[in-house]
């Protein structure tokens, strides 16, 4: 398999980096996908799907950001299950995970890769 066979990654600019509050999430509508963006304490930006797989509500961007061990996390605001911002895995129930998206910051703009 060569790189050429993969669909080309598209980077979509969503907002100014400063529009994200430290340790708080925000949701972006990217090509019809609801993407939860998080700016962690060290300045990194993470993106995961906004849909809470336990309740079917689009709310993960409104959870509390924190850490479990070294892993940056968000807790669902519905029933408090904790998800890794890096892998999307639910740390309270490893059989469940949410999609993750690559992010980068270009010229002060946050971009999400699809």
């Amino acid at each position: 398999m060569t790189v050429a066979e993969l669909p080309a990654r598209v980077w979509v600019a969503v907002c100014a980096y400063t529009a994200l509050l430290p340790e708080r999430g925000a949701c972006a509508l990217v090509e019809g996908h609801q993407v939860a963006l998080f700016r962690t304490f060290d300045g990194d930006v993470h993106a995961i799907a906004n849909l809470d797989p336990f309740t079917g509500a689009n709310v993960l961007s409104r959870g509390i950001v924190g850490s479990r061990g070294e892993e940056p996390t968000v807790a669902s605001p519905m029933h408090k299950q904790v998800f890794s911002l890096v892998t999307g895995e639910c740390l309270d129930d490893p059989s469940v995970s949410v999609a993750t998206y690559p992010t980068r910051v270009t010229d002060g703009r946050v971009e999400v890769g699809l």
Binding site: C27, L29, G56, I64, G69, M78
Partner: protein, 810 residues
């Protein structure tokens, strides 16, 4: 046996029938009570005068049992097996139980017929009537019951004198040294003690003592001992003791095999028992025998730990011994004495006044080798480190040994509530709870107080750190005493602490990132990710104009409306970007945040009160509004609910609240620690008949003490129960100021009241905060397309995404 008749309906009779029913008895039970009331808790009699209602004192109704009240049994025909009553009713029996109790002993003193006794609710009502208009009262008897009666007279506002024949008070529980310390306590409360004298005569408005002394008093109460009510037994030829009491064997049965006697009327092993614990045991023994068992009553542990007039008095084991060791501090009002065997090895008993701690720690060692040197045990308090032998009794109410508790711990029980549920230890009087904690600790169970993986401290400790060191941000606190970057447990807890202490806006600066979604959007998240809005309606009072505004807002934004249990209106189905628009309209109409989303004061419910209600005695609506406005916005470890009722009918259901107020003719009664919900609990009476300003001062202290010391998400009900010393301790701290912190608690509340601002008004006036109220950061005007509603009963209802289409969990 299928027809049981019980004569007498006091606590012992109640326990007997209750035990019988619980053991599956399916025969016919008839209980005769002389009083017009069903069985009630006589031990708590004094509390009746302090505002506790009759319903609270009454024991639960016994299902399927015929109770005949106001019905005095006057004869027993043992040959025909029939009892007859004063009004001519005849009731046949197969088995008869005499539980006729006792009567107060009234000495043959001239004028005694004009005096009162202290045993029934009826007696209390008579004393209450006589006390209104009287200035001074005399209690004859300085024992346990006498001091109870003295407390009652003092509570009725009388200058109270106690007359005791023995040279000191409570001669059955304490020796002379203890008696003198006890007298000091009681004199400090303003009561006069006349010991070593008896009554010569009672004259109108004065009492003459045997030493010639005179007390000008119009109310005289006899509380100087009891005499068994054995007249029915005597009249039908059953044996009674020389000094009274129906003679029974160790199975509580009389010489007539069909007749038992239990409680204060029974003479067993040459003794009449007047304490409720032994009487209950007798009832259980009698039931076992009736059902064919072989239980026996071999006397009872008469040890007692009491709190009379605020003074702790305790006695355990023997009251004499070959050796004794005494600690006496007349300044601090503490007296402790241990009795020891002649070889100085075995503990025989002890007496405590002013500090009953040795009762808890040392009672299990009675009859066993001394666990440490007597002076260490009395002086240094090292008793806390003792290793109890397995057969030592930890809980005497439920007869639970240290071994049984250790076994439960080995089986995996790791906290006090678990031990209570599993062993019943600590579930009756609670005095052994500190012992249970020690057993847990000694068994190596570490009662972790760590809030979460980020902080090793408890919430109360973090509160003190924030308060004392003046911490203002989460980052500062976690750098100082935590690790990592926090989580959904510690962040809201710290946010709440910062809000309680500093009262700034919950969305200011870094604090915004600490808030749960409800506090972050100042609204309550619902299952489809929309929010509900609850404007404050103080006391549940609202004008028609404001009601119309609420209706118009709900109509214009298409919201589902429902009346809440807290007397306000909840508007459901708002998307985040609608919240500021909705609140702009509400704030303009004079509404403010109801904090339905916060761990904060929710509502103060009220009944309509004396303004409209023909039964009301105080303005409950006015007080509810004043309280709701005073405490609005107060962040706390968990939500706070309150209510005010304008009379004893309690239409506002105040006793199911964290703090509930019920009007009295004289002022207000304050109840604390109530709860509805998952584990309902009636609130406990903290103070009674207080005027409004004092009421508010005590609530200020109560709330701030709770905020300072409770665990995260611990409601006041669980908090009050978790306090070592319970309600008495709470009262000593916030009413009597035993820790000297009341001024600081009040000052903290004053600061809250002075700095309160409506956080919704502040939000809509701040463009920076408003910018967060969007569904999508890159498309601020676009509503969330996944939020869909259908119609049900003319209102909206969320349409949910079926979980099976999510392809993940069950």
């Amino acid at each position: 046996m299928n027809r049981l008749v019980v004569v007498g309906y006091g606590p012992t009779a109640h326990r007997l029938v209750e035990t019988l029913l619980s053991r599956g008895f399916d025969g016919h039970v008839t209980v005769f009570g002389e009083e017009p009331l069903p069985a009630y808790d006589r031990v708590a009699l004094t509390s009746y005068l302090q505002g506790v209602t009759l319903e609270e004192l009454e024991y639960p109704e016994l299902p399927g049992v015929v109770t005949r009240l106001s019905s005095r049994v006057t004869g027993i025909d043992r040959a025909a097996k029939v009892v007859t009553t004063e009004d001519g009713h005849a009731e046949p029996y197969d088995t008869l139980v005499l539980a006729t109790g006792s009567a107060p002993f009234v000495p043959p003193v001239p004028g005694a017929s004009g005096a009162f006794v202290y045993r029934t609710i009826d007696d209390l009502e008579r004393i209450r009537q006589a006390a209104s208009g009287a200035a001074r009262g005399v209690v004859v008897g300085g024992g346990l019951l006498g001091l109870e009666a003295a407390d009652a007279l003092r509570g009725l506002g009388l200058d109270t004198h106690i007359v005791e024949l023995s040279p000191w008070l409570m001669p059955r529980q304490v020796d002379e040294g203890g008696g003198s310390v006890l007298k000091g306590h009681i004199s400090n409360l303003g009561l006069s003690v006349h010991a070593g004298v008896s009554l010569a005569s009672i004259e109108p408005d004065r009492v003459v003592l045997s030493d010639g002394g005179v007390i000008d008093a119009s109310v005289v109460v006899f509380s100087a001992g009891i005499k068994p009510r054995d007249e029915l037994a005597r009249d039908c030829g059953l044996e009674v003791g020389a000094r009274g009491g129906i003679v029974v064997d160790e199975g509580m049965r009389t010489a007539d095999p069909s007749i038992y006697a239990v409680g204060e009327c029974a003479l067993v092993g040459g003794m009449v028992y007047g304490l409720v614990g032994p009487c209950f045991t007798q009832a259980e023994v009698a039931v076992d025998r009736m059902l064919g068992g072989s239980a026996a009553f071999h006397g009872a542990d008469m040890s007692a730990k009491l709190k009379l007039l605020g003074v702790e008095v305790a006695q355990f084991g023997a009251m004499e011994g070959a050796l004794d060791v005494t600690y006496m501090d007349p300044v601090g009002g503490v007296y402790k004495k241990l009795f020891i065997s002649d070889d100085a090895r075995t503990l025989l008993g002890g007496i405590c006044v002013g500090d009953a701690a040795p009762y808890t720690t040392l009672k299990p060692f009675v009859g066993k080798p001394l666990p440490a040197s007597p002076s260490d045990l009395l002086f240094t308090g090292s008793a806390a480190a003792l290793d109890l032998p397995d057969d030592a009794q930890v809980c005497s109410c439920n007869n639970v040994t240290a071994g049984a508790v250790r076994e439960a711990i080995c089986d995996g029980v790791c906290d006090v509530p678990g031990l209570k549920a599993c062993t019943r230890a600590g579930t009756t009087c609670g005095s052994c709870v500190p012992m249970l904690k020690q057993l847990l600790e000694k068994s190596g169970v570490e009662l972790s107080k760590a809030l979460c993986e980020h902080f090793d401290h408890s919430r109360a400790e973090l509160f003190d750190i924030v308060r004392v060191r003046g911490v203002t941000t989460f980052s500062e606190l976690i750098a100082m005493c935590g690790r990592g970057r926090g989580c959904d447990i510690c962040k809201p807890a710290v946010a709440s602490i910062l809000a309680s202490l500093h009262n700034g806006h919950v969305l200011d600066g870094e604090r915004a990132a600490l808030q749960d979604t409800n506090d972050h959007f100042l609204a309550n998240i619902q299952k489809n990710g929309t929010y509900s809005v609850v404007p404050r309606v103080p006391g549940g009072e609202i004008t028609p104009e404001k009601l119309i505004v609420v209706g118009e807002v709900a109509r214009d934004f298409g919201l589902y409306t429902k009346i809440t249990g807290g007397q306000r209106i909840d508007l459901f189905g708002a998307r985040v970007e609608q919240l500021p628009q909705i609140w702009k309209r509400l704030v303009d109409a004079g509404f403010e945040s109801g904090h339905a989303y916060g761990k904060a004061l929710r509502t103060v419910k009220s009944c309509v009160g004396s303004t409209w209600c023909r039964y009301g005695v105080q303005d409950s609506v006015g007080l509810a509004i004043a309280l709701e406005l005073r405490y609005r916005g107060l962040r706390s470890p968990h939500k706070l609910k309150s209510a005010v009722s304008g009379c004893a009918r309690e239409c506002a259901e105040a006793r199911s609240k964290d703090f509930g107020i019920i009007a009295t003719e004289q002022g207000w009664n304050l109840y604390v620690g109530g709860n509805g919900g998952f584990k309902p609990r009636h609130a406990d009476l903290l103070v009674s008949d207080v005027p409004t300003d004092e009421l508010i001062r005590i609530i200020d202290r109560f709330l701030m003490f709770y905020i300072r010391t409770a665990d995260r998400l611990q409601r006041t009900a669980a908090w009050v129960e978790s306090l070592d010393g319970g309600l008495d301790y709470l009262r000593s701290v916030i009413v009597d100021d035993s820790l000297g912190i009341c001024a600081s608690l009040e000052e903290q509340m004053e600061r809250h009241v002075a700095t309160y601002v409506d956080e919704w008004r502040a939000t809509i006036e701040d463009p920076d905060k408003l910018s967060r109220f969007v569904s999508f950061v890159n498309a601020p005007g676009v509503p969330d397309p996944s939020i869909v509603f259908e119609t049900e009963r003319d209102q909206i209802k969320p349409v949910l995404i079926p979980l099976d289409r999510l392809g993940s969990p069950a």
